[in-house]
């Protein structure tokens, strides 16, 4: 089944063509660099920008897949969560194309896209997902740990109560005077630093039973530390970046680990998606966690599948299509505060 997918949930204008879980094309029009994915730059007049780009992006996605729109089986689109006016552009375009070409329409939750993104281009997706499994979304807008009862049925186990992980990293970089978003550059510097140079508080350490992520306290502590350490040199920046990223990840791993050990279920795999899942240090720590808890940890096959993209929407749409979950063009609508449990 060949599906054209569209995602305009926030900053990026994205379209992709997938066949089953195979990615045939994945086009992302980003104002920011393709490598600063989990922050993104807010285009002025978001709606107009999406409107201007969407036609080109869709055309390119179909062309890169070597297909014609007539030969596609369905059109999928992100309905939420995201920025309302931005979502509207994608939804309207999908609706228009579905009517014009007589295609079936599939409404997809952006977070489900991130969770299922490791299945893209996977050789045996059916066996990759023995349920219950865990899903972890780490991005600029979300930090969410969920239980996958089966594909299409999810429960929230832990989520952020203030800042998302990607947002915290971006803000940490900003505190260091590295601009915004700076999560990607923070990662670069954090490779060479001394983790013992500074001591920062691990959020809710010892209270992991609260099963939540929180980064606002760490952010404020970091702000004070950096003020104290000014003027900053390159060496200080590198050590500070390393320590900040280290503590931010330690918190994520501690909570995830607690949830795993506390659960009465044995989870077979952990699906990780979202912009921050491109961070190699985070991948290393999650793999180690997986080894210790006998959980297979899966990531998207390419960096282009970690940030906001439409190929992951195509993967999620494929499973919805298998379940016959299509929607009439007259009934589809954006849902800015959509939940993964909807």
């Amino acid at each position: 089944m060949k599906i054209l997918s569209i995602d305009t949930s926030c900053d990026e204008t994205a379209a992709a063509v997938t066949e089953g879980t195979k990615v045939l094309s994945n086009v992302i029009w980003s104002q920011a660099s393709a490598h600063a994915k989990f922050g993104g730059v807010m285009p002025s007049l978001a709606k107009r920008m999406h409107e201007e780009r969407i036609g080109w992006v869709i055309e390119k996605a179909i062309k890169n897949a070597g297909l014609k729109i007539e030969s596609l089986d369905a059109i999928a689109v992100t309905v939420g969560p995201g920025l309302s006016i931005a979502l509207g552009v994608g939804v309207d375009e999908a609706k228009k194309l579905a009517i014009k070409y007589g295609k079936k329409l599939i409404a997809v939750n952006h977070l489900e896209g991130h969770i299922l993104s490791p299945l893209a281009n996977s050789k045996n997706p059916a066996s990759d997902i023995t349920c219950p499994a865990l899903g972890l979304v780490v991005s600029g807008g979300n930090t969410l740990l969920i239980k996958i009862n089966k594909i299409g049925s999810y429960e929230v186990l832990a989520q952020t109560t203030d800042d998302a992980l990607g947002e915290a990293l971006d803000k940490g970089a900003r505190v260091l005077g590295l601009g915004y978003p700076g999560g990607a550059i923070l990662e670069k510097f954090a490779r060479g630093g001394n983790l013992k140079a500074y001591k920062l508080p691990i959020p809710i350490v010892g209270q992991e039973e609260r099963k939540m992520f929180t980064y606002s306290g760490l952010k404020t502590a970091f702000l004070r530390l950096v003020e104290y350490e000014k003027p900053l040199t390159k060496e200080k920046i590198i050590d500070l970046a390393s320590c900040f990223q280290d503590v931010a990840f330690t918190h994520l791993i501690r909570i995830t680990s607690f949830v795993i050990l506390d659960s009465k279920f044995h989870f077979h795999s952990l699906f990780t998606g979202g912009g921050v899942s491109a961070n190699l240090e985070l991948r290393k720590r999650l793999r180690k966690l997986g080894k210790n808890t006998e959980i297979k940890v899966l990531f998207p096959y390419s960096k282009r599948l970690t940030g906001d993209n439409a190929a992951m929407i195509g993967v999620a749409a494929y499973f919805k299509a298998l379940r016959g979950e299509f929607i009439e063009a007259g009934k589809i609508d954006r849902n800015p505060s959509a939940k993964i449990t909807d």
Binding site: S44, K60, Y180, I185, K219, T233
Partner: protein, 352 residues
């Protein structure tokens, strides 16, 4: 198309081609880049044709040094710090442009990304040309990252090949990641309009904890709750990062009887929380570049619908908020760090 080896001889040839509006593929410490004279509109048009990408997508440029950069952009303190510590190197710094380059190089907002490649030959070329050259990667959009000349030639069409005038071949480049892009324009000083905000009353509280901050929000809400549903109520929150603007909004939501989880809207720009009949709209203006952008987010309709709205970084959009002085009750809340670690000074008042 001519291919020459990396070396002293290449500088003169490259400069000649660039001067006549031609396309040069050159090595950097990251990838092969494709350069044209960034001040020449015809050359930029040719480059856009080569890259096969939509109009309106900006190009970053490479300069020889900070001095050259300052001819084309305004460097704020964040940018200056980055130039001092990290350039030349794999970093592209976005600043406010001075609109001196060909159309289509700067972004629609007039910002420009600049890098200084850590590659002697390329710097020599730019120095001799005396102008910035484009610093986009030499692949056509959405194709393989070019670390060798073969990577480029194997992935382009015959038509694209014809557009290239000169290739400087430096062999297989070390497989470094492409340069990281940092936007410094969001750190430009916010035009504070505090002086213009005439408050009918001014109140001050001292918060000693997050719980305290949440309770302050509740106290303030209870004073204005009676207007809920009759007029829009805007909480315009000001305060540096980490002062607790999201915490304040959590307290507001709780006081309103909203049980949904309140989180930072920095990334999504807007969150909506609904519990039963109660609705709260939560904005974050930090990433907005212009005050009018708040209007594009549907702000006007929310005021018309007599909604309750909380806006973080309200100082960035104070102009737009002020437009609703008559229609809405606007409560300006300023949160500042106190003397002790968990202390915050909260000052608030309504527009006259």
């Amino acid at each position: 198309m001519r291919i020459i080896k990396d070396g002293k001889m290449a500088v003169g040839s490259a400069v000649r081609v660039l001067k006549s509006g031609g396309l040069v593929i050159y090595p950097t410490e990251t990838l092969y880049g494709i350069g044209v004279d960034a001040t020449n509109p015809k050359a930029i048009k040719k480059l856009t044709e080569y890259k096969d990408r939509p109009l309106g997508k900006p190009y970053s440029v490479a300069v020889a040094d900070q001095k050259m950069a300052e001819e084309y952009v305004e460097l704020n303190s964040v940018a200056k710090n980055l130039y001092r510590e990290f350039l030349p190197g794999p970093l592209t710094v976005i600043s406010k442009g001075k609109h001196k380059l060909a159309k289509g190089v700067e972004s629609e907002d007039g910002t420009l990304g600049i890098r200084i490649p850590d590659y002697v030959l390329t710097i020599e070329i730019i120095k001799k040309l005396g102008k910035p050259i484009t610093a986009t990667s030499a692949n056509a959009s959405y194709k393989k990252r070019p670390y060798t000349v073969t990577d480029i030639l194997n992935n382009i069409s015959g038509k694209q090949r014809k557009l290239i005038d000169l290739i400087i071949d430096a062999g297989d480049l070390p497989h470094n990641e492409p340069s990281t892009v940092i936007d410094t324009t969001l750190d430009d000083p916010v035009t504070l309009r505090q002086g213009e905000i005439k408050l009918a009353n001014k109140n001050e509280l001292l918060s000693r904890s997050e719980e305290n901050t949440q309770n302050s929000a509740k106290e303030i809400w209870q004073k204005y709750e009676q207007h809920s549903g009759k007029r829009a109520i805007i909480f315009a929150l000001q305060g540096e990062m980490g002062t607790g603007k999201t915490i304040f909004t959590k307290g507001l939501a709780r006081a309103m009887g909203i049980t949904e989880l309140v989180t930072s809207p920095t990334f999504t720009l807007e969150n909506e929380y609904i519990t039963g009949k109660e609705k709260l709209f939560h904005f974050d203006a930090w990433r907005l570049e212009k005050s009018e952008e708040l209007r594009n987010l549907g702000f006007k309709n929310l005021i018309k619908d007599k909604s309750v709205v909380s806006v973080e970084w309200a100082e960035k959009v104070s102009d737009t908020i002020h437009e609703f002085d008559d229609e809405a009750i606007i409560i300006w809340v300023k949160i500042e760090f106190g003397k002790r670690q968990n202390e915050r000074r909260i000052a608030w008042g309504v527009t006259q």
